[in-house]
Symmetry: C2
Subunit: 138 residues, 2 copies
């Protein structure tokens, strides 16, 4: 919802490049900062946040809000909507905090069911299943 004119900056390129290497993994804004710092690149955190926000708007990455007191997670999606973009669901363990990534046909049924029967258009990118994971059940 901001300006339409966008500059291609060195920082933006580096950020996108890094995100691409993290396909299928959830990373936080801080993860990005830390990684870049290690590489001696060091992009200001404000810039990281601003660019991430912008990339979300552009649909290049998605943002997940897992919990009120956890940092937001981002994940590379890319321009083509394939793979995770359509079919990824997330489970968050209430005990250990682990985030589980699920690609499952059956779960896709949920979205269709909700739409068909309840006229609700599910946003699977944002929806998180809370519960207890395998290991924590022991």
């Amino acid at each position: 919802m901001e300006t339409h004119i966008k500059y291609k900056t060195k920082q933006r390129d580096i950020l996108i490049q890094y995100l691409e290497t993290k396909k299928g993994v959830h990373i936080t804004a801080n993860d990005v900062c830390e990684f870049l710092k290690k590489d001696g690149i060091a992009i200001g955190q404000a810039t990281v946040y601003r660019q991430l926000e912008r990339l979300v708007d552009e649909g290049v990455i998605s943002k997940y809000i897992i919990d009120a007191n956890s940092p937001a997670c981002f994940e590379y999606i890319g321009l083509e909507s394939h793979g995770c973009a359509e079919t990824c669901f997330h489970c968050k363990c209430e005990k250990c905090g682990k985030l589980i990534h699920l690609h499952c046909e059956e779960l896709n049924e949920i979205g269709e069911h909700l739409f068909r029967e309840h006229k609700f258009k599910l946003n699977s990118m944002r929806t998180v299943f809370y519960g207890v994971c395998d290991e924590c059940q022991k």
Copy 2:
């Protein structure tokens, strides 16, 4: 999680009483504080947060995280309310903020599927489906 409430305090009663009057509406911790302040009751915000947290654990209310930078929303569910405690699912409209309660056999399948196939024990009390409601799709 940790300690279970054992004592019945004045503050807790007032809080629950207020929450009950807000069935079907989502309110924030701050809403609670503000309301009580107006009534000259004034419960400390730390207490409000602590009690809300515990009421969530007890399943009396649900907590919804709508956005990273918005406060968490709470809603009264109640223990004895029409079997909701076991089978109720929630859909939250990302546009109008409306909260939809669903009692649905098919949705119950989700929990079973997750457990059977993915060994994840779903907490349906806490899980919220995000998406766009009927009306907002127009």
